[in-house]
């Protein structure tokens, strides 16, 4: 039975990946910085995977972990997420999102050099791109500390592949969403608000720029692409995206009309949230992944939005049942079985 190590297993992607690898017969070991952290996303598989506490800022601990579990595959998903507080902690963002990749690859080179490794890179590396859509060869122009740190991780992955002959891949992931997305992300804000408003719990949704466009896919599909990369004869880098751009307005329209509402009656473009766009139009060209990995996203935009709204409606019902009529669930996360 192959063993996979997932860093950041309690995140959105980690939880989908853990589920998927379990279904493929893997023994799954996942890391978390702190066991007392919210493990909501893992509740349904908690007994089937091993979750270990570790500090990815310490290479000695990482080496011990590799020595102990002797993994066949390593998925590096741990990162400070691309949300607002990036600018308030640029040093620790760099330490975790950039330097941790160096530590992990260096440790792999020493302890388990045959491991197949994949780094979760990000479309944020393109920042303000010179071409659209972007492919594996598009130059980077990162516009925020997250994108800069991810670019460092991407190049580090390539350097260790070339220099140490490690089987190291970089997956350039475009936005990927799901019912397990954190509440601070715009897609989840919308799906939750559509659910809450449709059930009479809230009255309006304040958002930033409605015309901002993104390439949005389903996280469950994206983790499968990462797995496929590690099953190839040679390591390489791949853009993972849908190739379609939709605006925040499209997302609102789809989500609210699904619960028979008109988003125009509830969504307010908040002048205070109108920070200037940090990035240009990020749309990925996934043709290399189509061709070489045989990968294709299964969940399209409409199904993704509906899946997220369904889950948030269900969550409101659950919480009503649990807590009488007061829905105080700021910090909770919906957990659903992978629908695919």
């Amino acid at each position: 039975m192959p063993t996979a190590l997932i860093t950041g297993v309690n995140g959105q992607d980690g939880s989908y990946l853990a589920e998927f690898l379990l279904s493929k017969g893997y023994c799954v070991v996942g890391t978390t910085p702190d066991e007392s952290l919210d493990q909501q996303r893992l509740l349904h598989i908690r007994g089937k995977i091993e979750v270990v506490e570790t500090d990815l800022l310490r290479q000695d601990l990482v080496e011990n972990l590799l020595r102990k579990y002797q993994p066949d595959e390593v998925y590096n998903l741990a990162a400070r997420a691309s949300s607002r507080d990036l600018w308030t902690h640029p040093v620790s963002t760099g330490d975790l999102n950039a330097l941790a990749v160096t530590r992990l690859l260096d440790a792999i080179g020493k302890v388990v050099p045959r491991v197949h490794f994949v780094q979760a890179s990000s479309s944020e590396m393109f920042g303000n791109p010179s071409e659209c859509p972007q492919s594996e060869t598009t130059p980077f122009h990162p516009r925020n500390p997250y994108g800069v740190a991810k670019a460092y991780g991407h190049w580090t992955t390539i350097i260790y592949r070339q220099h140490r002959n490690l089987f190291a891949c970089s997956s350039i992931l475009y936005n990927h969403e799901s019912p397990r997305r954190g509440f601070e992300f715009v897609t989840r804000k919308i799906s939750r608000a559509a659910a809450m408003i449709s059930l009479g719990e809230e009255k309006e949704l304040r958002l930033g720029r409605l015309d901002a466009r993104r390439d949005w896919g389903f996280a469950g599909d994206y983790v499968q692409a990462m797995w496929l990369m590690l099953q190839q004869p040679h390591p390489d880098d791949y853009v993972i995206a849908t190739g379609e751009a939709h605006s925040v307005r499209d997302f609102c329209e789809e989500a609210f009309s699904y619960v028979d509402l008109n988003y125009r009656d509830f969504v307010v473009e908040d002048q205070e949230n109108l920070r200037s766009e940090e990035t240009g139009l990020l749309v990925g060209n996934p043709s290399k992944a189509y061709r070489s990995l045989g990968w294709k996203p299964k969940v399209g935009f409409h199904d993704l939005v509906r899946m997220m709204v369904d889950a948030d409606v269900q969550l409101v019902h659950q919480q009503r049942a649990q807590q009488g009529q007061s829905p105080a669930f700021q910090s909770q996360t919906a957990v659903r079985q992978n629908p695919s």
């Binding site: 290479q59 600018w87 640029p90 040093v91 760099g94 950039a98 330097l99 160096t102 580090t156």
Partner: protein, 340 residues
Amino acid sequence: MKKALITGITGQDGSYLAELLLSKGYEVHGIKRRSSSFNTSRIDNILPDWHEREARLLLHFADLSDATSLLRLLYRIQPDEVYHLGAQSHVKVSFELPEYTGDVTALGTIRLLEAIREIGFKTRFYQASSSEMFGTTPEHPQCETTPFRPSSPYACAKAYAHWMTINFRESYGLFACNGILFNHESPRRGETFVSRKITRGVARIRAGLQDKLYMGNLDAKRDWGYTPEYVDAMWRMLQLDSPDDFVVATGETHSVREFLESAFDHVGLDWQKFVEIDPRYFRPTEVRFLQGDARKAERVLGWRPQVKFHHLVKLMVDADIKLLEDQLSGHLVRHAGAHD
């Protein structure tokens, strides 16, 4: 009187820059690391005068891996200009010490930028970027818009610092410039860098102290300039009306082999009789061809290099011959490397 802070003042560039700024009437502050061996040899010749010059050159203990030390220093000095030259600057060593290189060279830069943010962004910031960031790019010559393809942990860290500098400029309006400096040499170049290794070897072979010089890849091509001219470009950048990034280079490219030829020629020896190839000196992923296009620096900064390749080689060989003679005759007890 303007105040400048130089990180890496004990290095090659820092020492020349300190001299330049002193000659322009600046009060110069430098950061030095605590070390149990002497590390100020390059500035010893300007240090002893500091009583007479009313303490216009002051060294402080601080460390790029210690954010608090940087912040304390910036508060105390309130510099008008910060020249950030400090780094783990050796490419090959960065493969042995990738985490340390990332911590000092990449994260050290954000620690410094954060400290500048803390004191209110009144200072102008110069970041020492490097042509190594271009790495394996197929484009040449390389200019400010050439995409990066870093191929060493050092280059990755420098690219990270470069982009963070741009992020701080664009997001906070910090007056910050990146100088993308191509190789720049001088009699004060560290003895482990290829140019100095050659000129020092030539001096020792000529004196009969050594009969072989072991080298790595002779085909690597570099754009080699003279450091005192390059630090002048740094200063010019911070005197502009608005900040920008500049390639600083000679525009000529020469191989390591040509450097050997020219250096041995200068003392009337045939390099092929003394040079042997040692594969241990090969870099894991070798940057093949660097040639800078510095037309923007010429246009905007009015900067133009005067010392070209053969002149540079000659003056470095002469300086090493002189240094060796001084050492052998007892004129120099400690190896200073500062008397050119």
